[in-house]
């Protein structure tokens, strides 16, 4: 078998993500991808076993990137306030810098491919975030609530702002652009709500 061309493979991945996000899983075909990436379908099948294999492996790769970005310079032993600031900064930067990738991970989570991809990401999230949350409760920096309540208060407001940003519009069709000021304003309220 001939050697894999990494540059070619990177183009294939980039085009595949774009097409999967814009056209969805059903509208996607290996032939269309081959055309878009200027490679032959035969080349694609050297890299990937089939369409499902490509979808899942891209999901695992992008999930890995998202996990790494989320935990950049984050330490679960940080104080609750500091840790939340790092998390918000990391999560928003990742979203803003990799919009296609972020949308792809979301798309995977709402699809039948979820199980195969999410299991590769959730162990690390569970371990690191679990430790962070447990420490914060012990140190009386965080109210004791269910993990679902915690996540909903702690991160859903951020993702909602990012969604507004992605659409360019908030409620009532108001123009909206995400910025640090609105992020910090929201984060302060979140931190207030989670204090014991």
């Amino acid at each position: 078998m001939r050697a894999r061309d990494e540059h070619k493979e990177a183009i294939v991945k980039e085009k595949a993500l774009e097409m999967l996000v814009i056209q969805g899983f059903d509208g996607f075909s290996m032939q269309k991808l081959a055309k878009a990436a200027s490679v032959s379908p035969a080349t694609l099948y050297i890299y990937y076993k089939d369409k499902d294999d490509l979808i899942v492996r891209l999901g695992i790769d992008e999930g890995r990137k998202m996990t790494d970005a989320t935990f950049f310079k984050f330490d679960p032993s940080m104080s609750f306030d500091q840790g939340m600031r790092v998390q918000w900064k990391n999560r928003s930067s990742y979203w803003l810098q990799n919009p296609i990738s972020a949308r792809y991970v979301e798309q995977i989570k709402h699809s039948p491919y979820r199980e195969k991809v999410v299991e590769t990401m959730s162990a690390e999230f569970k371990e690191v975030m679990g430790q962070f949350v447990r420490n914060a409760v012990i140190n009386k920096e965080l109210v004791q609530v269910s993990i679902e309540t915690y996540w909903t208060i702690a991160f859903a407001p951020l993702y909602n702002l990012l969604r507004f940003h992605q659409e360019g519009k908030s409620m009532g069709n108001r123009d909206f652009t995400f910025n640090e000021e609105v992020m910090n304003e929201t984060l302060e309220l979140v931190l207030k709500a989670l204090k014991p």
Binding site: M1, S29, M30, Q31, P41, A42, Y45, D50, K51, D52
Partner: protein
């Protein structure tokens, strides 16, 4: 090892089943699968040597179209 890729008109799992005994009796074929979700119904074969003609003959004999896609 070679990866061989063929465009076929295999439509359903039962079509794939027809080919199973044919491929499984070959010592040269290490792994094979058909991408039924893809429009080209790609038959992908990993083999120890280039068997393109043999595979095309085998699939055609079973009553299906089979055309190798060259890289």
């Amino acid at each position: 090892m070679d990866v061989l890729v063929f465009k076929t008109n295999l439509l359903r799992k039962k079509d794939v089943k027809v080919l199973t005994p044919l491929f499984e009796s070959s010592d040269e074929i290490i792994r094979w699968n058909v991408d039924l979700k893809d429009i080209d119904k790609i038959l992908r074969i990993e083999a120890t040597c280039r068997l393109s003609q043999e595979i095309q003959d085998l699939v055609k004999k079973a009553g299906y179209d089979c055309e190798e896609l060259i890289d």
